[in-house]
């Protein structure tokens, strides 16, 4: 493809043919304001915020969908454009609630920033307000159509990236609302709770269901023993909420913060990640050596599990029966640890801090309960955790580095990398190798670089003694569907598939910090840095294989017996069932 040259605001820029005016402007360091546009999604051209003047045309062009042409002369900031763009944004906010001060997205709302940049300092128009009920039926997410500006990003990410297509724009004109089919309560739809709608929403039309009130009540309750676990990906991103650049995993400060919040016991989900690997690797080795069912598909991700139950009931027998690390940790807290400490499990308030909104749904799954008790009572997202710290006056930056409590706090490097796409597979391979060959991988072969990376779809053939383990990895459910389609068509045969619903894996989870100003949600550089921080943790750990974790060795010796033992199955494994409504994947670009 050849290059084309055009001028923008008098500056010459050369871009590949097929670029839009917006892309050309970006290349020329000229920022055209935008709202509905997202680089990872199809072009909608709905908001008109990105209008520009093209010389020789009497109409304004939406730069996100207008192709740049050779010799074109574009103006992005003439007084007339600035005035018109200001009017467009003002019309967008004229029926928006005026409650910025009390809104959850106050301070990180794209609409708020746009209004500021456009210089909207008074409201000249006062339009009719849209009045809708909030949908609070889902344990994971709240839908608030009053905050919606109809940019359609949520509809596109749900359909194009996640292929769940739960959302659509319904009705027309002023009455248009983003909603699930039949305006059903979220809890009764194919919504998988991944929270990517909340991540890409420029306002607060989608936010997580609040868990902070209940958490704050529990830590004040003297009767309750509050036991907290934190997922690997939380430490990779929590610093961003306090002004740190991504790239450092702040686990020590995170543990210290929890103690200062008044939490009684600080455990680590990474312990259970090691436990998951013991169970999942043993299960995989069994399936691999004695005829299946293969491919074995990972089961840590609650968004993916609910997706499979709606959209792929035929794959449920292939899912690993191992519970997720969060639920294993919860089960161990309310059984092993409660017995050991001789406390009534009913007095334990088990809290999980997760990068994830779907975990809030997982925590409510009845089949995961233990003797009628929930094993996880409360799930907070990374964002909620950061808010609680600010609310309680924790000065994160100056906190010391502390260690988690024993005996469910120790973890290996294999557990840390769970937070990034490919991490579960790499951790499982390290331990599966030991289970099959009775010895560890050599020091220089412990890293499986071929399963790392941020490509949506990755394949790797990993030699395993005489045999080869054929692996595929997907993050984003559209990418996962691509794998299943290829397997179904007989194009590839696989032994192991890792599926993470969110782009990047848990580090890009729906509960992770919102992007900073000037960045778009799903920013790849940010995801890469978060992943690096976890791989660095792995690199720095003395123990890098789950089966070397001394606490893991102890719980098997004292309590569980062998991996996949009867006891382990009772506590650490689960089952799945097809769900209604049956999911229908979009087959082409959405309407």
């Amino acid at each position: 493809m050849s290059d084309i040259t055009l001028t923008i605001n008098g500056f010459t820029v050369t871009v590949p043919e097929g670029s839009t005016i917006m892309e050309a402007a970006d290349a020329a360091s000229i920022h055209i304001p935008r709202l509905c546009h997202h680089p990872k999604l199809s072009i909608q051209g709905a908001c008109r915020v990105c209008v520009v003047e093209v010389e020789g045309s009497n109409k304004l062009a939406a730069s996100c969908c207008y192709p740049a042409e050779e010799g074109m002369s574009v103006r992005t900031n003439t007084p007339e454009i600035l005035r018109l763009r200001r009017d467009i944004v003002e019309l967008l906010i004229d029926n928006h609630p005026e409650d910025c001060n009390t809104c959850e997205r106050d301070g990180n709302c794209e609409l708020q920033r746009l209004a500021r940049d456009m210089g909207i300092r008074e409201r000249l128009f006062a339009g009719e307000r849209k009045r809708y009920e909030k949908d609070t039926s889902s344990p994971a997410l709240i839908r608030d159509p009053e905050k919606c500006v109809l940019c359609g990003r949520c509809v596109r990410i749900c359909g194009e990236v996640q292929e769940a297509a739960c959302l659509s724009q319904v009705h027309r004109g002023f009455s248009t609302v983003v909603m699930p089919a039949h305006d059903a309560p979220f809890a009764e739809t194919v919504c998988i709770g991944c929270g990517q709608c909340a991540k890409v929403c420029p306002t607060a039309a989608f936010v997580e269901k609040d868990g902070t009130r209940e958490f704050l009540r529990a830590i004040e309750d003297p009767e309750m023993i509050v036991v907290v676990q934190t997922a690997p990906a939380v430490r990779a991103a929590i610093g961003e909420e306090f002004g740190f650049e991504p790239g450092v995993a702040w686990e020590g400060k995170m543990f210290a913060a929890l103690r200062r919040l008044g939490v009684d016991v600080v455990f680590d989900t990474q312990f259970a990640a090691d436990l998951t690997i013991m169970e999942e690797a043993a299960e995989f080795v069994h399936r691999f050596t004695s005829g299946g069912p293969l491919p074995n598909i990972t089961s840590c991700c609650p968004g993916w599990i609910k997706y499979a139950e709606h959209f792929h009931p035929e794959l449920l027998p292939n899912l690993s029966t191992a519970k997720s690390p969060m639920s294993m940790q919860g089960a161990m807290i309310k059984s092993y640890w409660a017995e050991r400490m001789d406390v009534d499990p009913a007095r334990i308030y088990s809290v999980a801090i997760m990068p994830c909104t779907a975990k809030k749904f997982e925590a409510e799954r009845e089949e995961l309960g233990l003797d009628g008790l929930r094993i996880v009572d409360c799930v907070l997202t990374t964002r909620e955790f950061a808010w609680v710290m600010k609310h309680m006056g924790i000065d994160f930056a100056s906190l010391p580095e502390e260690e988690p409590d024993s005996p469910l706090g120790e973890s290996t490097g294999a557990a840390a990398i769970f937070g990034a796409t490919g991490g579960v597979t790499e951790a499982a391979l390290r331990t599966a190798y030991h289970m099959v060959f009775g010895e560890d991988l050599p020091e220089d072969a412990i890293e499986f670089r071929q399963v790392r990376g941020l490509e949506g779809l990755r394949f790797a053939d990993v030699p395993f003694g005489e045999a080869t383990v054929r692996i595929a990895l997907a993050h984003g459910l559209g990418a996962a569907n691509e794998i299943f389609d290829r397997v179904a068509r007989g194009e590839i045969e696989l032994d192991f598939i890792e599926v993470m619903a969110c782009p990047g894996g848990c580090i890009g989870g729906g509960g992770q910090p919102y992007e900073k100003e000037g960045e778009m949600p799903l920013d790849e550089e940010r995801l890469r840095k978060r992943a690096q921080s976890l791989y660095r943790l792995d690199d720095d750990r003395k123990l890098r294989c789950s089966h070397h974790n001394p606490d893991i060795i102890r719980v098997y010796k004292e309590y569980l017996g062998e991996p996949n033992s009867h006891r382990a199955h009772e506590l650490l494994h689960t089952y799945y069932y097809p769900r209604v409504p049956l999911g229908i994947r979009p087959q082409e670009a959405q309407v």
């Binding site: 027309r172 089919a181 229908i584 087959q587 082409e588």
Partner: protein, 190 residues
């Protein structure tokens, strides 16, 4: 009286719908959403609206997410997702009719039926359309239509009489159907 349509929900009809969907699918390879519009027309022609059950059925059979089917069906004013009355009343909203007092006619219809434009009477006899544009009979302004019948030069004081004809028609139809059902039941009994 509550007007009820004939029982339209027969297994044969749903089979016919599936055949229709298969035809439309084949006619639009790789573009199932293109097939959606004619299929929705087919459903609406049968029921007078698009019932949720049909939305789900069409979504499954065509392989289009249910949310998207709702999006399309709710976008076009021709389609209705709510049950409609036996008769649709529309008053021309064109310039000529407006000048000649169409608004007063529409107001009177709404007053008589105690509904707002776009709504259906609780007895399911009338739906008042909120989307009529120029009906193309400006010489006879103001014009109202009830289904395919055109009523010309309508004055507000005519409205009650016109509506009464249709109420009577609906009642008559219901009575006929009841009698037929009785005859049917008796012949079954014998």
């Amino acid at each position: 009286m509550l007007y009820q349509r004939e029982v339209l929900d027969t297994p044969e009809w749903w089979r016919g719908l599936d055949e229709m969907i298969a035809r439309e699918r084949d006619a639009n390879p790789g573009a199932v959403q293109t097939a959606l519009i004619p299929v929705l027309h087919y459903v609406q022609d049968r029921f007078g609206y698009i019932p949720p059950k049909a939305v789900n059925h069409v979504a499954q059979a065509l392989g289009v997410p249910t949310s998207y089917v709702c999006g399309v069906a709710s976008f076009y004013s021709y389609f209705s997702m709510e049950p409609r009355g036996a008769y649709t009343v529309s008053v021309c909203q064109g310039t000529a009719c407006f000048v000649r007092g169409a608004q007063a006619v529409l107001d009177e219809i709404c007053r008589q039926l105690n509904v707002k434009p776009g709504e259906t009477t609780p007895d399911m006899v009338f739906t008042v359309s909120d989307s009529a544009r120029c009906l193309g009979a400006c010489g006879q302004a103001p014009v109202m239509m009830i289904d395919d019948d055109v009523h010309a030069h309508v004055r507000p004081r005519d409205v009650q009489g016109i509506l009464a004809q249709y109420t009577a028609k609906a009642r008559h139809e219901m009575q006929l159907r009841e009698e037929l059902a009785e005859i049917d039941a008796r012949s079954h009994h014998e």
